[in-house]
Assembly symmetry: D2
Homo-oligomer: 248 residues x 4
C-alpha cells in the first residue's frame, strides 16, 4: 500500500480566522482526507513538531511526501531539507503545493529561485490540460476552473519541466505552468499551483482528483538504490587511488 505523508506549515490556520474557517484542522487534514478517500495510507507532519515531524523513520516509511508552506519557509531546518532531498534522490515522490514554490526542499531540488509574479484578487483561474494522456491529467478533461484564485504568473523560475501537464489562464491576463513534473535521482517531483489558504481550493473536486493522481504517479518509481549525497561535503581523499571498479 502506498503511504503518503502530508506536510503542512500549519501556522495560518491557527492565526487567522478566515483560514481556520476553511481548514479547521489544518490544510494537511483536508489534503490527507482527500488522499484517504483515494485509497492511500496517510500520515501528517507539521513545522512545529520535533524535526518538523520528518524523522528518518517517518521518511523511510513514506512513498510520497506532499509539502505546503508559505510564511515560514526559512524556519525549516537545513538538516531536514538534506534528509528530504536524499529521500527524493532515493526514490520518494514529492508533491509541492502552491506557495511551496519558495520552500527549501523545492529550491534545493530545482537549483533555481522558484520566483514568480503574483496578485491576490480572488480572480478566476482556468487550468488547461496540456498533456491529456499523462496519468496526472486522468479524468480532468480539457480544463477546470478555480473560481477564486490567487494569481501566479510567468516567468516562473524553474528548470524546464520534464512534463508540462497543466497551464493556467488567469482573468487578469497572466499564464502559468501550473502542473510540472521533474525527476531528481530516482524520485519524481510534481509542482501543482492551485491552493491558497484563504480560498477553499483543497475542497474542490478536481483539485482533489489531481492530488490523488499525482501521488499515484509519484509513487510509480522503480525500486532502485539511490545515489549517496551523505558525504557530499567531505574531501574526496581517495579519488587518486588506483582502486578499480569491478565491472567484470
Amino acid at each position: 500500500m502506498t503511504t503518503v505523508t502530508v506536510w503542512n506549515e500549519y501556522r495560518h490556520e491557527r492565526e487567522h480566522d478566515v483560514v481556520a474557517d476553511l481548514y479547521p484542522d489544518g490544510i494537511h487534514a483536508t489534503i490527507a482526507d482527500a488522499l484517504e478517500d483515494r485509497g492511500f495510507e496517510t500520515n501528517t507532519a507539521t513545522l512545529d513538531e520535533p524535526e518538523h515531524g520528518l524523522t528518518e523513520e517517518v521518511l523511510d516509511d513514506t512513498d510520497v511526501l506532499t509539502w505546503w508552506g508559505h510564511a515560514a519557509h526559512d524556519e525549516v531546518d537545513d538538516e531536514v531539507v538534506d534528509r528530504v532531498q536524499q529521500h527524493v534522490l532515493d526514490g520518494m515522490g514529492l508533491i509541492v503545493l502552491h506557495s511551496a514554490h519558495l520552500s527549501k526542499p523545492f529550491r534545493r531540488l530545482m537549483g533555481t529561485s522558484g520566483s514568480l509574479n503574483w496578485r491576490e484578487a480572488a480572480e478566476t483561474e482556468r487550468v488547461w490540460t496540456i498533456e491529456p494522456g499523462h496519468p496526472i491529467a486522468d479524468g480532468i478533461g480539457d480544463y477546470f476552473e478555480v473560481p477564486d484564485a490567487e494569481m501566479y504568473g510567468e516567468r516562473f523560475d524553474v528548470p524546464q519541466p520534464d512534463d508540462l501537464v497543466f497551464t493556467s489562464w488567469f482573468e487578469g491576463g497572466e499564464v502559468f505552468r501550473s502542473g510540472c513534473c521533474w525527476t531528481r535521482g530516482n524520485g519524481r517531483v510534481f509542482y501543482f499551483r492551485p491552493g491558497h489558504e484563504t480560498y477553499p481550493v483543497y475542497h474542490q473536486e478536481e483539485v482533489r482528483r489531481v492530488l490523488g493522481n499525482a501521488c499515484e504517479w509519484a509513487a510509480d518509481a522503480a525500486d532502485a538504490p539511490g545515489p549517496s549525497v551523505s558525504n557530499r561535503s567531505e574531501p574526496i581523499e581517495d579519488i587518486d587511488s588506483d582502486d578499480e571498479r569491478s565491472v567484470h
Copy 2:
C-alpha cells in the same frame, strides 16, 4: 567581446610533480590559453585567492565561468556558491569540467548528488557525438578519442540533460553521458567529462575545440533580467497583502 573567467582549485599542480609537469602554470593557464586562441578575453581565478577570486565585480564582468575542482570542493565558501548561482540564474554561462561533477556550484544548480562510478586505469575513452547539429559538437565529427582517461561511468546522478551532446565509451566496459547541457534561470550550463590532472587531456586539440564551442554556446543567452534569489531565506510577510501586479 565575450569574457571567460577560468576557475581552478589549483592544488594538485602545486603538490604533485606529475601534475606540475603537465600543467606547470596550473590547469587554468592551459584552459585560458586554449580559449584565448579561440578569441575570448580570459581571466583566471583560484581557490586560494580572497573570495576564491570570484568577487561580485569579477562575476559582473564574466560572460562564462569555467570550473575545475577535485580535492577541495568543501573549501569553497557557500557565499561564493550563492553568488555563482545567482549569476548563472541572471544569465552567466557555466562550464563544469571533469571532477567538478561534485563541486558545490554544480550540485547547487542541479539539485542532485552528481555522483558517478569511476576507475583510474589510463584506459581509452571514445567520445561519441550524439547531436551532430549542436553548436558544441561543431567540427568534432563522429567521435574523438582520449588515449589515457580516468573512467567515469553511469549512473551519473544528474537531472536529465536538456541536450545530450556527447556520450563516452570506455575500454573497460562503461558508458557515460559526457557532454550535457542544462538551462537554469537565464543561464546555460555545460558539463564536459574529459580532463584529469594526471593526463594531458587539456592539451588535446579536440578537447580545446569543445571548450571553445561550449563557451560560445553558453555566452549565447539573451540579455534579460534574472530572478532574485537574494531574499530566498526571508519570510514572505506581505504575500497576503492586496497589492496587485500592474499588468494593464
Copy 3:
C-alpha cells in the same frame, strides 16, 4: 551570410480584398522585408511556382526556411515535403508560422496531428515570455500583445517542445504554447503562433523581432553530415551481411 527562403501559400492575398489590403505583395513579401531589415539575405517561394519554388537548388542555398500556409496544405506535393524534411534533417532551419501547424512539412517532422482549438473573434492575445534567456526571446521583455488575434487554444497536439519560449493568453479564456523549439536530425524547428491573414500581425514590431531572432537561432546549427532518408522505402537487403563498420 545567412540566407532565408520565405515560403507562402499566396492564395488569400490574391482572392480576398481584406487580405490584399494588409499584404498587397503577399505575406511573404512582408516577412522577407522584416528579415532583410534584420540583415538576412532573403528569397521568396510560393505554392503556385513549379515545385512550389523549392527545388533542390533553392534548398541547397537556404539556411532557414519560413513556412506560411493555410487553405491549401493538401496541394503541397509529397516530393517537396520529402525534400524539405531531408534538408531539415541535414541542418536547415524551419520556422513554421501560425496556420502552418497543419502544414505537411510540420506534421511530417512532428509525427503528430498538429491539431488545436481555434476561434476567430479579433480578441486580445498576450504573448508571455517563458524562457527570458532564450535567444528567440531577446529584446521581448515579459510579454507583448497582439490587439486583434485569431485564438488558438490547447490542446495543441505536438511532441513536447525541447524549449518552450512563449505561451499566449487569450481574452476569451484559453492558453497556447505559442513559441516552441524542436531539433530534428541536425536541423532546428520553431513554431510561432501569431500571424493571421486578416490582421496586420506581420507588420507588428515585436513579431518582426521574434521572426529575426528565430531565424538567427535556427541558423545556428553546427555544419555536420545529415542522415540519409532517401532510401527509406527500400528493402534493407544487405543488413544480414557480415560487413563491418570501420571504426578503427
Copy 4:
C-alpha cells in the same frame, strides 16, 4: 486487463534455418509468451495477414502494440501506418523493437530517418541503466549483458528522447541509446534496441523483463480523447468562419 498485440514481419523465420531454430513459431510467439508470463492478454499479427492483421477492430482492442520488422518495411501498407499512428495519438502504446528503427510507424511518429550505424559480429553488448528510477528499468540493476549482439551505434537519428532509460556499450567501441521513451499525442512510444533474428535475445531473462516493464509503462496513459488526424489532407475551408469555440 491490458491487451498487447505482438506484431512481426515473420519472414526470416520461414526462410532461414538459423532463425527458425531459434524462433520456431516466429519471434512474435516468443515475445507473446514472455508477455503472457507477465500477465498480459496477448494477440499476434503478422505482415502477410490481410491488413497485416491490424484492422481497426484489432487496434481498438489493443492497449499496447509491439513491432518487429526488418527486411520488408516497405511492404507495410501506408493505410495501416496511418491507422497505427492514429491509435498511438489516441493513447495506444507502441514498443518498437531492434531493426524496427527503420519501420514506417516509427519513422512516421518520430519525423526523422531513424538511421544508425551497425555491424554484425556477434560481439558483447552491455546495456547500462541510465535512469534506475524509471519503471522500465525496474529489476534490471546497473546493467545486463547480451553475449552475442548485432552492434547498433550512434548517431541514432531520432528526436531527443523524453526519457533515456538505457545506453549500450559495445565491445567494438560504440555506444547507443538503446532504451528511449517518447510521447506522441496521448500515446507512449518505447524503442528497445536488443533483439536480432539470428541470436536468442528474446529468450534472455533481462530482455523479457524489460519488454514486460515497457508494456506496463506504455499502457499507463490516461484515457482521454485523442486528436483527429483523419481530415489532415483536407482543405481547411471554414477556418475563416466566425464560429466560436464554446468555452463557457
